[in-house]
């Protein structure tokens, strides 16, 4: 937050001088979370439209590069590794299931495992049996594609600040978003509550263990949390929560009709999509149109909520660039697929060696853009100056290449 303010101030002061302006735009700050999500969804779309293992591996590598260069030190930023592990598990699962349950016949026999017939209730299914290269490779390609999409979403999780994202929810979801914010803020306080109740128990000489102790701690903590919610509600009331704008009855009816009509369209579209005799117009187009109409109704309903925003996130050039990189990568991959489908979807039978075309490499290069185009992540802003001295020194050494920011108590 501090960085944003100083950045804006120096832009105003130096307007007219090119290089300084550019460096001001690159001052460390948190990017709009929506930009990271657009980028990640673009990459996930690109990954979903190819099974080329080289391209998928490159996409994973690029995602990891951007995450490592641009993530902050918030707890959600450290979970990227978990998504990588989960991706590996998915690939392993696909391959192992292919080996156990068969499927995808091929000519190049890898190994022949003994077959295990199953009892009658699982009739028609055999375990193990011959394992072909094509079969394992098909599972690997499929799993890699899914894992890459997952890793892309994991990157968005690591890079985007969920609390900022909750601030940007549309007005109709404002109440639910507030509840989630309350939950996120209260959860750490529960730990403190548990410690307090335990201390009180010890002071009273209660040494019970097991079930009794659990009840003796859990119930007071729950009661404490419930009391806390009442106090919180009083605080929210006194700060004017729940102020709504007067919406004319006609408009309310119109939004209701939009939501209902849209949902009827969604149901019809879903039916058309799954119906075997469905005609074209009752499928996907109907579904998408219904969704669009219902969402419009929802957004209109949100106008009832009136709220002011404290330091809203704005879409600046860096945000547009990052989101554009993701969308461009998706578009380039789709284009590569229409130019040379057999290279983007390399066939497993006959076995072919996957190749990478210049178009795919261009998509990957564009996807890597945010590693340099996005401003560096914001430094922790809520640290008291006295504590900040050693910490910010340590951080400064890792970010020596970044422009100097006026950190409280940091290096000069």
């Amino acid at each position: 937050m501090t960085d944003r303010r100083t950045g804006a101030a120096s832009v105003r002061a130096d307007s007219g001088r090119g290089p300084r302006r550019w460096s001001a735009a690159r001052l460390p700050r948190g990017l709009h979370p929506g930009a990271w999500w657009w980028w990640a969804l673009g990459l996930a779309t690109a990954a979903s439209h190819t099974t080329n293992p080289l391209l998928l591996a490159l996409l994973v590598a690029v995602t990891a590069l951007v995450v490592v260069r641009r993530r902050g030190d918030a707890p959600w930023a450290l979970a990227f590794r978990m998504y990588l592990v989960l991706g590996a598990v998915i690939i392993a699962m696909r391959v192992v299931f292919r080996i156990i349950f068969g499927g995808g016949q091929g000519e190049h026999l890898l190994v022949s495992l003994p077959e295990i017939p199953l009892p009658a209730w699982a009739a028609g299914i055999r375990l193990f049996g011959p394992v072909a290269v094509e079969q394992v490779l098909g599972g690997f390609y499929d799993g890699l594609r899914l894992a890459t999409m997952l890793v892309c979403l994991g990157a968005a999780n690591a890079l985007a600040n969920p609390k900022r994202l909750l601030k940007a929810v549309p007005g109709a979801l404002y109440a639910v978003g507030t509840a989630v914010v309350v939950a996120l803020s209260v959860a750490p306080q529960l730990v403190e509550s548990v410690l307090r109740v335990r201390r009180a128990r010890r002071l009273r000489g209660a040494t019970g263990r097991g079930m009794r102790a659990l009840r003796g701690i859990a119930l007071p903590v729950l009661a404490d949390a419930l009391d806390r919610s009442l106090a919180l509600a009083a605080a929210m009331d006194s700060r004017g929560y729940g102020r709504t704008a007067a919406v004319p009855a006609g408009q309310r009816a119109a939004t209701g009709a939009l939501v209902l009509g849209g949902l009827v369209g969604v149901c019809a579209g879903t039916y058309g999509l799954l119906d075997s005799t469905g005609s074209g117009y009752l499928g996907l187009p109907m579904l998408l149109a219904g969704l669009a109409v219902a969402v419009t109704g929802m957004l209109l309903a949100g106008r009832r909520v009136r709220r002011s925003r404290y330091r809203p996130d704005r879409w600046q050039p860096a945000e547009l660039l990052v989101a554009g990189c993701g969308l461009a990568a998706a578009a380039l991959t789709l284009f590569a697929g229409s130019v040379a489908p057999e290279l983007v979807y390399p066939p497993v039978s006959p076995l072919t060696w996957p190749e990478v075309t210049p178009l795919m490499l261009l998509a990957v290069a564009v996807a890597a853009g945010p590693a340099w185009l996005a401003p560096p992540p914001g430094l922790p802003s809520t640290r008291p100056p006295t504590v900040a001295v050693p910490v910010s020194d340590a951080m400064a050494s890792t970010r020596a290449s970044d422009p100097v920011t006026p950190l409280p108590g940091g290096r000069a």
Binding site: S48, P75, W76, A79, M82, L86, F97, F101, G103, I125, R126, G138, D142, G143, M149, L150, L153, P162, P170, L173, A175, V176, T178, V180, V181, V182, A183, L184, S185, V186, A187, L190, A200, R215, A218, L219, L222, L226, D227, R228, S229, L230, L232, A233, A234, S238, G256, V259, L260, L263, V266, L273, L274, G278, G283, L287, A294, M298, A301, R304
Partner: protein
């Protein structure tokens, strides 16, 4: 008692959106055989993946469109925090699942609409805290929401041991149902298209059901889901009465049912002055002063 009134329009939206959402789980059973249809092109899973979050958002927006009372909202946030804190306790230990227990009890006490919202907010907050955000999250949120909704719809007159027994039974049933639905969602993704347990497009529904039954029995029903059902039922039986009492006490103190009336500017000058200060309706029973005093005083007496 119902903290969040479900208007007829909301009920219709809930039903329509739930029906469409159910299709995003069960599509492998109904997918047509002929290859030129959209559903066969491999886009279907992606379409549903995009569609479900929108549907969940629509339901949540519709449920809260009447405006959530600040007390209900704070209760929702705090209970979601407790749920989110409970969730990691069981993670990693085979089949021990601690989320549903409080969800079922809270849905029972605070009503179906609140239960639905609590299911969604709990899983969303928990995913944000433990960084479990992924394509599965909207599906988990919806399943948990259905569980909370169902708990609120149980017959209201039950009390005492029957109530706990019914809730425990419902908890076990909901745990199995949750496992089954999540398996159903994960089925096409975990297996891919052409193993012997994968769905076959255009095959009779019973045939695909059989394949799915074998898949879910092999992978999770006897391990994870049974563990989850047992944990939930046992937790409801052991802690249910005490937690129900705590929740009901909180509901009484919050006085959700109290009619909100504002006193007209009458002859006494003191009243209209007090109203804008506290922001609370004048006629409503006031739990306020003692709560606030107890809270701002730091640790309760006897713990210092």
């Amino acid at each position: 008692m119902s903290v969040l009134r479900i208007a007829p329009r909301t009920a219709v939206v809930l039903a329509l959106a739930s029906a469409a959402a159910l299709a995003t789980f069960t599509w492998p059973f109904f997918i047509p055989a002929h290859p030129e249809s959209t559903a066969r092109t491999g886009e279907a899973p992606l379409v549903f993946l995009v569609m479900l979050p929108v549907l969940v958002a629509l339901i949540l927006a519709e449920l809260s469109s009447g405006g959530i009372d600040s007390k209900a909202l704070a209760m929702l946030g705090v209970l979601a925090a407790v749920n989110a804190a409970l969730r990691p306790l069981g993670a990693g230990t085979a089949g021990i699942e601690t989320v549903f227990f409080l969800l079922v009890l809270a849905g029972r006490v605070f009503g179906p609409g609140f239960g639905f919202l609590l299911g969604s907010t709990s899983l969303f907050a928990s995913a944000l805290l433990t960084a479990g955000v992924g394509p599965w999250l909207p599906f988990q949120m919806l399943c948990a929401s259905w569980i909370g909704l169902g708990a609120g719809l149980l017959p209201a007159r039950l009390r005492g041991r029957t109530e706990v027994a019914v809730l425990a039974g419902y908890g076990a049933f909901a745990a199995y149902g949750y496992g089954l639905l999540m398996n159903l969602w994960f089925w096409p993704f975990s297996l891919g298209a052409d193993t012997q347990l994968s769905y076959v497009a255009g095959a009779p529904v019973l045939d695909n059901l059989h394949r799915f039954a074998v898949f879910t029995a092999v992978t999770s029903t006897f391990g994870w889901d049974t563990g989850r059902a047992i944990t939930t039922a046992v937790a409801v039986v052991l802690a249910g009465p005490a937690v129900l009492a705590a929740l009901r006490r909180a509901a009484r103190r919050a006085a959700f049912d109290a009619p909100v009336t504002f006193a007209p500017p009458g002859p006494e000058p003191a009243r209209p002055k007090a109203a804008p200060q506290s922001g609370t309706p004048v006629a409503a029973p006031q739990p306020g002063p003692d709560v606030r005093a107890g809270w701002s005083g730091g640790a309760p007496p006897g713990e210092g």
